[in-house]
């Protein structure tokens, strides 16, 4: 279960507060996954008491203050959400799945989710196996109208140390993978999987989902959680 409580002493009008929380949630807590199970209890509350500026006008929607508050809150909640993924049960890796050049944002999100929740992708990451075939498989079965074009799809690993990306698949064609370099990249705690779904010049649809690997420890923890 995910629980979250956020408090600020900024003066924010209640309707603005609701929209701020909803918008920030959609690009933070709703973009993480550990095991693909949606809890019965997930809740995030945001409180604003205005105590830092008593007697001031309250922040309302569409103002410059609202836009700034939206940036602050979204960035703050993204950082909180990432902490959950870093502490996923049994997790040893923090993985960013970024899907670009999709037909729209929804399609990009669906594809990113499909990769991020694939048990076989996640076990390969735990085993430090650069198994890009499993990533493609998860892209291919993503539900809904995702308009996948196999001959335009590219997949890379982006190393956390800022070194050059490792291309695994380019326009549907597998690349000669330097297994030693792949192993080095997969040794790092952080990893980004970059998927380009087309060769479009303009990046129409893009989405990022944060996930972790899937280890023996997850089964150990959850095999007897209730008792």
């Amino acid at each position: 279960t995910l629980l979250g409580v956020i408090c600020t002493d900024a003066p924010i009008q209640k309707t603005a507060l609701r929209t701020l929380l909803s918008t920030a949630t959609n690009s933070s807590f709703n973009r993480i996954t550990v095991d693909g199970d949606t809890s019965t209890n997930d809740s995030v509350a945001l409180f604003a008491n205005g105590m830092a500026a008593p007697g001031s006008d309250v922040l309302e929607k569409q103002s410059e203050d609202y836009k700034e508050m939206n940036k602050v809150l979204t960035s703050f909640m993204e950082d909180l959400a990432k902490l959950i993924v870093r502490d996923g049960e049994g997790a040893t890796k923090f993985v960013t799945v970024r899907v670009t050049k999709a037909d729209n944002h929804t399609a990009a999100h669906v594809v990113a989710n499909s990769i991020a929740t694939s048990a076989l992708v996640k076990t390969a990451l735990y085993g430090k196996d650069a198994n890009w075939g499993r990533i493609l498989c998860a892209i291919g079965y993503a539900p809904g109208n995702t308009c996948i074009r196999p001959n335009q799809t590219s997949v890379s690993f982006i190393p956390a140390d800022g070194s050059e990306e490792l291309k695994l698949l380019v326009n549907g064609e597998p690349q000669a993978v330097d297994e030693a370099r792949a192993a080095t990249i997969l040794e790092m705690e952080d990893l980004e999987i970059l998927v380009k779904l087309s060769n479009k010049e303009k990046d129409v649809g893009e989405a990022t989902v944060y996930t972790c690997d899937f280890s023996h420890e997850y089964v150990t923890i959850n095999g007897d959680y209730r008792t």
Partner: protein
């Protein structure tokens, strides 16, 4: 096996960098924690947390879209609806038992937990608004095992201690963040300061705590 893992409460060395040693916290908010032994096997760690504003404040809430919403989710949504998201005092949280799929009795337990906390908060910081309105303005959250009733008597017995524990130091915030954990290996707490264009010379603060390690694929609205 882990519960409030690791069982000795020690933070794994590779996670220590994510736990803040200091913070800047918003004015007028107080937080606390207490131990009610919600889960029988947890004999050591606080499992009740309270985050409250010293004055009634605006609030917003997003919750799971799972059709089997837990009792505290239903109760908190009802409280928010009744009071139109304003004059809310805070939120009381227990870990160890999710109070989910517990039917009418579970909703009554969640209501009792919220009401007692709210009454004690009102005694601590009475406001004009509260003297006229007896309704509950404190939200409630639970996390832990699904399908079991809350040990509500043990929880109620510790809520006075919980309210007495309220404070606004970094240690208060960290202990409270720790109290909402289940299988988490470290408390998740962040704080930050920021400014807004129309409020020159004023520095605002934001602080937040979260928990979660398993059953994580949120889709809240």
């Amino acid at each position: 096996r882990r519960y409030s893992a690791p069982t000795d409460g020690a933070i794994p060395p590779n996670k220590a960098k994510y736990v803040p040693t200091e913070g800047t916290y918003p004015k007028g908010f107080v937080v606390g924690s207490a131990h009610a032994q919600v889960k029988a096997s947890n004999t050591k760690f606080d499992d009740l947390a309270l985050i409250a504003s010293e004055t009634p404040c605006s609030a917003a809430l997003v919750t799971t879209q799972n059709h089997f919403q837990a009792a505290p989710v239903s109760v908190s949504k009802k409280i928010m609806f009744q009071h139109q998201s304003k004059s809310i005092r805070g939120v009381v949280i227990n870990s160890g038992c999710a109070n989910a799929v517990t039917g009418k009795g579970g909703r009554e337990d969640a209501m009792r937990m919220a009401k007692l906390t709210h009454d004690l908060l009102n005694k601590r910081n009475p406001t004009e608004d509260d003297q006229d309105v007896s309704a509950i303005r404190t939200l409630v959250m639970s996390t832990g095992v699904i399908g079991q009733r809350l040990p509500i008597d043990r929880i109620e017995a510790k809520i006075p201690t919980l309210v007495e524990s309220l404070g606004n130091t970094h240690d208060h915030w960290l202990r409270s963040a720790r109290a909402i954990c289940t299988t988490d290996t470290f408390p998740k707490l962040l704080s930050r300061q920021f400014t807004l264009p129309s409020y020159p010379g004023i520095t605002f603060s934001i602080a937040g705590m979260t928990k979660g390690a398993g059953m994580i694929h949120p889709n809240m609205a």
